[in-house]
């Protein structure tokens, strides 16, 4: 007699159903992400930091399959280390994004992960690159993950050119809070990384410190 011998999430792939965002300001970038990792209906990690360092001043935000995204980030981290030793200076953000894009494009059919690459370098300052499906495009800001669908309207309406660092950080936290409220696959705490010429600052915004909106 065959029956459902185990709960579905035991054999389900682990996904970072997620909200990620990166935005550029004059002199740097701000990246933000939620912290929920799910396998089916079960949350397997409620505090995962999806902002992964590729280099000192270049970070990437992970979404999609946890295994695929982690593996791409670790591979590019290694490749960037080698590259920066070869050129004997800090790598450009475009180089990091190109390395991510190369893997995403070549293994397009096999992988299901989307990484947003953002950072600061000496030549172009703060830059944000989207690498969805293997394309490479520089954008003033980028959002991704399952929760991003709920906040396209918000970011399109609220984004203004020439925001300061503090305004960008507020923008990121607000976007994450809204998406985490509406998307079942996003939640937990909000991680934020601010990269500029002088420093790389990592920050955690705990659940009850997130901004609240009309329905709370």
């Amino acid at each position: 007699m065959l029956g459902e011998a185990e709960p579905q999430w035991v054999s389900e792939e682990v996904k970072t159903g997620t909200t990620i965002i990166a935005i550029e300001f004059d002199g740097g970038v701000v990246l933000g992400s939620d912290s929920r990792v799910s396998a089916g209906a079960s949350v397997v990690n409620r505090v995962m930091n999806k902002l992964s360092p590729l280099h000192d001043k270049i970070y990437c935000a992970l979404s999609g399959s946890a295994a695929d995204a982690q593996t791409i980030a670790e591979m590019v981290n290694y490749q960037l280390d080698v590259h920066s030793i070869e050129i004997d200076e800090d790598p450009q953000v475009r180089s990091a994004a190109t390395l991510v894009k190369n893997i995403s494009y070549k293994y397009k059919e096999e992988l299901s992960a989307h990484l947003i690459v953002a950072g600061w370098d000496r030549r172009e300052g703060g830059q944000v690159f989207a690498t969805l499906s293997g394309l490479l495009t520089r954008q003033p800001f980028a959002i991704g993950g399952s929760g991003s669908s709920y906040v396209y309207g918000f970011v399109d309406a609220e984004y203004r050119r020439g925001m300061t660092k503090e305004e960008c950080q507020k923008f990121v936290v607000n976007t994450l809070a809204l998406a985490m409220n509406r998307d079942g696959s996003s939640g937990g705490v909000a991680y934020m990384v601010t990269i500029d010429e002088h420093s790389t600052e990592e920050k955690v915004v705990l659940g009850n410190d997130l901004p609240t909106f009309f329905d709370q």
């Binding site: 065959l2 029956g3 459902e4 011998a5 185990e6 709960p7 035991v10 054999s11 792939e13 682990v14 990792v37 396998a39 209906a41 079960s42 397997v44 990690n45 505090v47 995962m48 399959s65 946890a66 295994a67 695929d68 995204a69 982690q70 593996t71 096999e110």
Partner: protein
């Protein structure tokens, strides 16, 4: 009478995941979480029907695993239940799910038993060679990288869900590793079908920097929660306490499910799992003896070459 020879069946005792799924003929709305009471009425009707004919309703069967780990002040404590199942049958009532990786690193495994066994042995072997090459005690992060890269290479076809813990030069570390190759570094982790029950205990009582006794009690309770509340795990609780320079492999830590002791009716003597019955327990109705007339045809001696 024909003798049908079956070659020794190579079964991989499975713990945790079974790949059978029930096919639905009619699609209703998406099942909600929590216990579904929909079939209770049907079950009671079936039960009464079965009892009328003289059959009894089959009882619930257990499969699966509960494994977990926690970081405390001086190290890590790993815990596991000890039941291995093969479909609907318990293949091993007291198997060991905590595997050796290196003197300071141990790994609990859930999922397909063969996969967890072989994966941990392969990485243990590679790690020993690596450690000889570096001349240093291996680090938990190294074992984690090796495991995740191997599992990713096989794209989830190796069904090994692992809880890796150990103490190295950078302190105590605990990782959970999923079959597709993603890992999480956390202060407390659970895996297997009983992981939700165990995680409930952890989320309630975990505190950072616990003492060893407190941590052992917490892990024991978490595994017990998995054993008793999950149609998933059973038997005893194994613990492994790893601190700097010392490993306590406590097997079993807690015999949560001791096998019952039978009393022999006739003598009133304790029989501990003895299946020998006295002559006359079963009545003999008739006896028939057919002597076989065998003729000795040939006798030959072949000396063994023992040089």
């Amino acid at each position: 009478m024909q003798h049908l020879y079956r070659p020794a069946a190579f079964v991989s005792g499975k713990r945790g995941s079974s790949s059978t799924k029930m096919a639905t003929l009619a699609v209703r709305r998406v099942p909600l979480g929590g216990f579904s009471f929909e079939n209770c009425k049907r079950n009671s009707v079936l039960e009464s029907e079965a009892n009328k004919v003289g059959f009894s309703v089959p009882t619930a069967r257990k499969t699966g695993t509960t494994i977990c780990g926690v970081v405390f002040k001086d190290g890590v404590v790993l815990g596991a239940d000890t039941r291995a199942t093969e479909g609907m049958v318990v293949a091993d009532k007291n198997c060991s799910k905590i595997h050796y990786i290196s003197p300071n690193i141990y790994c609990c495994g859930a999922g397909t038993a063969a996969d967890t066994e072989m994966t941990t042995q392969i990485i243990s072997s590679n790690l020993e060679l690596h450690s000889l090459s570096t001349g240093r005690l291996p680090r938990v992060a190294t074992a984690n990288r090796m495991l995740k890269q191997m599992l990713f290479r096989y794209q989830g076809y190796i069904g090994a869900a692992l809880v890796l813990g150990g103490v190295d030069c950078n302190g105590p570390h605990l990782y959970s590793i999923y079959p597709h190759g993603s890992t999480d570094k956390l202060p407390y982790v659970t895996m297997g079908s009983g992981s939700l029950a165990a995680m409930a205990v952890f989320e309630d009582r975990y505190k950072p920097d616990m003492e060893e006794e407190e941590a052992k009690r917490l892990v024991r309770d978490a595994i017990a929660a998995g054993i008793f509340n999950d149609l998933g795990s059973g038997s005893n609780i194994d613990l492994c306490v790893i601190t700097k320079g010392n490993v306590d492999y406590i097997r079993p830590h807690d015999e949560a499910n001791k096998k019952g002791v039978r009393r022999g009716e006739l003598e009133g003597v304790r029989l501990t799992g003895d299946y020998k019955y006295k002559r006359g327990t079963t009545a003999v109705l008739s006896k028939a003896v057919n002597p076989l007339d065998l003729e000795l045809l040939e006798e030959s001696v072949q000396t063994m070459d023992t040089s």
